[in-house]
């Protein structure tokens, strides 16, 4: 009887220790998860900010300015555009 009690006591102490360890690990994991989530939110915010910045860099005004000044492009007019007739090209094929 006494031996059984000792075995049970050891099991109890063991399981208690194990529970403490698991709880500790659980908290560690939760902290890591929470940190990852915060990071995710941060990345999301950065993404939005960068997207807005990209958009600001690519506004019509800036694109036009760069196209004109740096790339020496000019606006296409109907005089320099050859319009392809979709229906006619279908027939030819």
């Amino acid at each position: 009887m006494t031996r059984l009690n000792f075995v049970l006591l050891a099991a109890l102490v063991g399981s208690c220790m194990y529970m403490v360890k698991i709880t500790y690990e659980g908290r560690q994991l939760f902290t890591a998860l929470d940190r990852a989530r915060t990071e995710e939110r941060q990345h999301e915010r950065d993404f939005k900010r960068l997207q807005a910045e990209r958009e600001a860099q690519a506004t019509s005004g800036r694109v036009e300015q760069v196209a004109r000044e740096r790339l020496s492009m000019r606006t296409a007019t109907p005089a320099v555009t050859f319009y392809v007739d979709a229906a006619a090209s279908e027939v030819r094929r």
């Binding site: 908290r27 939760f30 902290t31 929470d34 940190r35 915010r45 939005k48 900010r49 997207q51 807005a52 958009e55 600001a56 506004t59 019509s60 005004g61 606006t75 296409a76 007019t77 109907p78 005089a79 320099v80 555009t81 050859f82 319009y83």
Partner: protein, 592 residues
């Protein structure tokens, strides 16, 4: 006596009998031990009662108090919805921006003036201003709200006690001043103040979330408790605006205002098929992201809020009604002899007199007398109904702050001279958008379609005002008006046929008209056979010598039409002398 004091008897110390200590010998009364037992018993009972109270009866209260000490509520701010153009380009978006705040009673004793000056520099503030701000409240002051991430990084590097940050959102407007009047802006608390930001505040704003967590000594979140409310981000709003057309229109009106030394100008571009507003630009404008020196003049969305007498742009409607009811045909002559007409003692004059004009020529030459003669054949009620059906005197069905109704008086109060002047656009008022909307009647073969700021999946049902043939006939007249011999030949474009009507008026001042202040405008459509866009341009007080709508506003119209049709990939309907030169280059025979 000897029993009490053994030494007194001269005997040795060893002879002391401890077991019979005289102190113990005194008899304790039994009530004392009972009292003691009772008191201990009462003590335990009190403890038990307290334990029962804490654990059972008052458990909620204590649980709450406990939670208060270790549970923290984290606010999770929702992000405001974005505003997009028809192709998904960003017109407004929210980005995270830290706001820096301080607890002066922590900061002041713990830092040197030099450190605080450093802090002011990092925040881009004046050191004296910072000191003054720190005196405001010992517990909390905002130092600077919605700064860049780098600014906060610099402040953090100073490592000062009592300086904190809270994460907030800041609105960014990539299109800047070009779309300012459409998009509007928000205040520092992210509430809409103008434009779409104000009109769709509820949809855009979203709902903040919160979560309750347990934090450990290091401030790390270790457990979620209670319920979590996820933040609901605001809805994105997609407008019908095309950022490219919008920017181009803004640029052109800005240049025109500068060129003609004008006070202001507006452009409205409508998609004919759906009634969508492709562009709505005003100058002067402002940068919605930086409103430091904002004036009311810059804020005004003139195309929607400023009404004026539509003048000559009304004549085509009168001609259309006369054609519609079979009173005249396009080639019916109208006597405009001597260029003046007397009605009720008042004289109506033309700028250039022509003896006789056909109905088509009345529009082409913009004859006031001709328009008045056509109108006087109609009962006032018929004319009122026509104008009313075209949307004059009604607020456009646009969910947009500041949209005005304009003025169209009830027909019963019209005097004959008023009916005559109304035929050429005086005595009633409308906004530029209303005039553009009314022109959908010509562009859509007789149907007026309500304008919309939002992308339409299918064309909305219109209100039929004219027969398709009538609309087509008037479009030809408009083409003549915008051609050689008309009032607006500068409206012509390369490759696309255009039709439109110019307008010029003395500005109203007080009760009368100012003799040297003008307003010039042009409204038209293109291509004439199958219109795709309507463009309306208005320039306020051009004062560089030129002031006719045909010379001031028509060139802007021409450029905007040309650009918009090209962007929409619409094939030119006019013969264009091609400038494409290709040379037949024979290919070098390959060696094999």
């Amino acid at each position: 006596m000897s029993a009490l004091n053994p030494r007194a008897g001269g005997g040795s110390v060893r002879s002391v009998n401890y077991a019979t200590s005289p102190l113990l010998a005194s008899k304790t009364p039994p009530w004392r031990s009972r009292l003691l037992v009772a008191m201990v018993g009462i003590g335990f009972t009190a403890l038990l009662a307290r334990a029962a109270y804490v654990q059972v009866i008052g458990t909620d209260f204590f649980q709450q108090q406990g939670e208060k000490r270790y549970v923290h509520t984290l606010q999770m701010p929702a992000s405001r919805g974005r505003i997009l153009d028809r192709n998904g380009a960003l017109l407004a978006t929210s980005v995270a921006a830290p706001s820096v705040w301080a607890i002066p009673k922590d900061l002041n004793p713990d830092s040197t003036p030099a450190q605080r000056a450093e802090l002011a520099r990092a925040l881009g503030m004046n050191p004296a201003d910072l000191e003054k701000r720190l005196q405001d409240n010992p517990n909390f002051v905002w130092l600077r709200r919605q700064v860049e991430d780098e600014t906060w990084a610099k402040v953090k590097a100073l490592n000062l006690k009592g300086v904190h940050q809270v994460s907030e959102f800041k609105r960014r407007y990539p299109e800047g001043e070009a779309a300012a009047h459409v998009v509007g802006f928000t205040g520092v608390e992210q509430t809409g103040q103008e434009g779409i930001e104000l009109a769709f505040q509820r949809e855009l704003q979203g709902k903040d979330g919160s979560r309750e967590v347990v934090k450990d000594r290091l401030g790390r979140v270790i457990e979620d408790v209670g319920q979590q409310l996820d933040p609901i981000d605001g809805r994105d709003i997609a407008l019908s605006i095309d950022a490219k057309v919008q920017f181009f229109a803004y640029q052109r009106i800005r240049d025109a205002v500068a060129e003609h030394k004008a006070k202001a100008g507006s452009v409205v571009v409508l998609d004919v098929e759906t009634g969508e507003v492709l562009a709505l630009a005003n100058y002067p404008s402002y940068d919605p992201g930086d409103r430091g020196k904002l004036t009311g003049n810059q804020l005004r969305n003139r195309a929607l809020t400023d009404t004026f007498e539509p003048g000559s742009t009304m004549k085509p409607f009168i001609a259309a009604q006369a054609l519609e009811t079979g009173r005249v045909r396009a080639d019916t002559p109208v006597v405009t002899a001597a260029g003046s007409l007397v009605i009720g003692g008042r004289t109506i004059r033309d700028a250039h007199s022509h003896p006789v004009l056909t109905v088509a020529e009345v529009i082409q030459k913009s004859s006031n007398v001709g328009a008045a003669r056509l109108a006087m054949q109609m009962p006032p009620r018929e004319m009122w109904e026509l104008y009313s059906n075209l949307g004059f005197g009604h607020k456009p069905q646009l969910k947009f702050p500041g949209t005005v109704t304009g003025r169209l008086r009830p027909w019963k109060t019209w005097k004959p001279i008023e009916q005559a002047t109304m035929s050429y656009g005086y005595g009633l008022s409308a906004s530029l958008l209303q005039i553009a909307q009314a022109y959908t009647a010509f562009a859509r073969d007789g149907e007026v379609v309500p304008v919309s700021m939002f992308k339409q999946d299918m064309p909305p049902p219109g209100l039929r005002v004219f027969k398709p043939e009538t609309a087509r006939e008037v479009r030809k007249m408009l083409q003549m008006a915008a051609g050689p011999g008309g009032t607006g030949p500068l409206a012509q474009t390369i490759g696309y046929s255009v039709g439109g009507k110019s307008g010029t008026a003395h500005k109203q001042e007080g009760g009368g008209y100012a003799s040297n202040k003008y307003r010039s405008w042009f409204v038209g459509l293109a291509p004439v056979d199958k219109p795709r866009v309507i463009v309306a341009v208005m320039v306020d007080e051009p004062s560089a010598g030129k002031y006719f709508g045909g010379t001031v506003a028509a060139p802007v119209f021409s450029q905007v039409v040309q650009h918009t049709l090209r962007l929409k990939n619409i094939e030119p309907d006019l013969e264009v002398k091609p400038q494409i030169v290709t040379k037949a280059v024979p290919a070098e025979p390959e060696s094999f």
